[in-house]
């Protein structure tokens, strides 16, 4: 016997009637499973961005921007807290989720396993990664059938706007300085394609269709990728940066100008352009293996609990 109070059919009827799901009593087991999967990805992503950004705060060029990054880290932990809290309400053992899992079992996008090692990379992360988060969560806010999440996202949305604006403002400011501009371009060169990957498998290869089917999100992976490029590409072009995508008048959308997906060397932070397009199976194998900072970031989050357990 599962946790859901309704059958799949009843859930679909409820959603079609335009009624939201308030809790397990309005949901089916499959709906709950799909919701949990979605919430875990969201929670893990917010949480892991904390150690990632915290490390890069050390590269802040003044105390004011140091304060901004520390505040952004606090926001991200708050957003993670919201998603984990909803998982707890669904009956998930959240302590086990955060402190019991192995680093490779976390579900955040691979991009966060590649450490940010300069101010240029930090502000591009704000502009690219926080924009990705904003695109994904705005879609959830607009379309989700799960009422508690919709309510919680009002404040999250606003805070993410501050994060990506922080990045865009710094990029605009440094775009006029040659050396800084080169470093930002180098960061964009590896981070742009990594963020394109973030949105996941192209629609024709996607296995789980429950997220759209149950109204947990509205746009498909490819549509979300388009929404992200619609914001990011014109911004980069406006400030004189090259990114491998352009607007195509004919199709009315953005077209990626490099091989995609591509092989990536996370240590060198370089894409293997000469090798060209690889398969999504290759990409998933890289994702499953996780990236260079995965172990360090997760252990950093788990360290306090481990220390107390050892002391006892």
């Amino acid at each position: 016997m599962g946790r859901g109070g309704l059958s799949n059919e009843e859930v679909r009827e409820r959603i079609l009637a335009g009624r939201l799901i308030e809790g397990t009593q309005h949901a089916s087991d499959d709906y709950i499973k799909a919701l949990e999967r979605t919430l875990i990805v969201s929670a893990d992503t917010e949480l892991i961005s904390a150690p990632s950004y915290l490390g890069a705060a050390a590269d802040a060029p003044n105390t004011s921007s140091y304060m901004s990054i520390i505040s952004i880290v606090q926001d991200e932990v708050g957003h993670a807290h919201i998603a984990y809290r909803m998982l707890r309400d669904l009956g998930v053992d959240v302590d086990e989720l955060v402190y019991g899992r192995e680093p490779h079992e976390f579900k955040h996008p691979y991009a966060f396993d590649v450490p940010l090692e300069s101010w240029a990379e930090m502000i591009v992360a704000n502009a690219f990664y926080d924009r990705a988060g904003f695109v994904l969560l705005s879609d959830v806010f607009e379309h989700t059938t799960y009422a508690p999440w919709k309510r919680a996202l009002v404040k999250v949305d606003r805070e993410e706007t501050f994060h990506l604006r922080h990045g865009e403002r710094w990029i605009a400011k440094l775009a006029n300085e040659d050396a800084a501009k080169r470093r930002i371009q180098q960061a964009m060169d590896w981070m742009f394609v990594l963020t394109l990957e973030w949105f996941g498998l192209p629609d024709h290869l996607k296995r789980h269709k429950d997220q759209v089917g149950y109204g947990l999100k509205g746009q498909t992976n490819d549509e979300l990728r388009q929404t992200w490029m619609t914001a990011v590409v014109p911004f980069c072009e406006k400030h004189g940066f090259d990114v491998p995508a352009h607007y195509d008048e004919e199709s009315g959308g953005y077209v990626i100008d490099c091989a995609f997906p591509m092989a990536f060397d996370p240590e060198a932070k370089q894409w293997d352009h000469p090798r060209g397009e690889i398969t999504w199976d290759d990409v998933m194998a890289r994702w499953r293996g996780r990236g260079p900072a995965n172990e360090r970031f997760v252990r950093q989050l788990q360290r306090g609990v481990d220390q107390l357990a050892t002391a006892a």
């Binding site: 304060m67 901004s68 505040s71 404040k155 606003r158 501050f162 604006r165 922080h166």
Partner: protein, 111 residues
Amino acid sequence: MAAVRGACDGSVQRSAVWAALEHVEDPELPLTITDLGLVRRLEIAGGRVRVGLTYTSLACPCNEMIREDVEAALLAVPGVMAVTVDEVLEPWSREDVTPRGRELLRAVAVV
């Protein structure tokens, strides 16, 4: 340091300056800095405007952003030639938020 722009004929309306400030939004909350109660001083001398701002916390993560937004908004007011933003570091509390601001904050469940 003052943000400076071209020439000026010296006639700047206080009401025009205030109206411009009323359009500067807080970067994290959906209300303006005037509704939030951040503007504490406003001096106008010829084309030079001096604004005193406080922030909701001493470690306000947005103070640079707000300062730049204020400078940009005021430099767009006809006649304004230079803008100086001072951090006055006066205490701020929710009592400083205008009634309209409080309504807006209630809508996003902040107060």
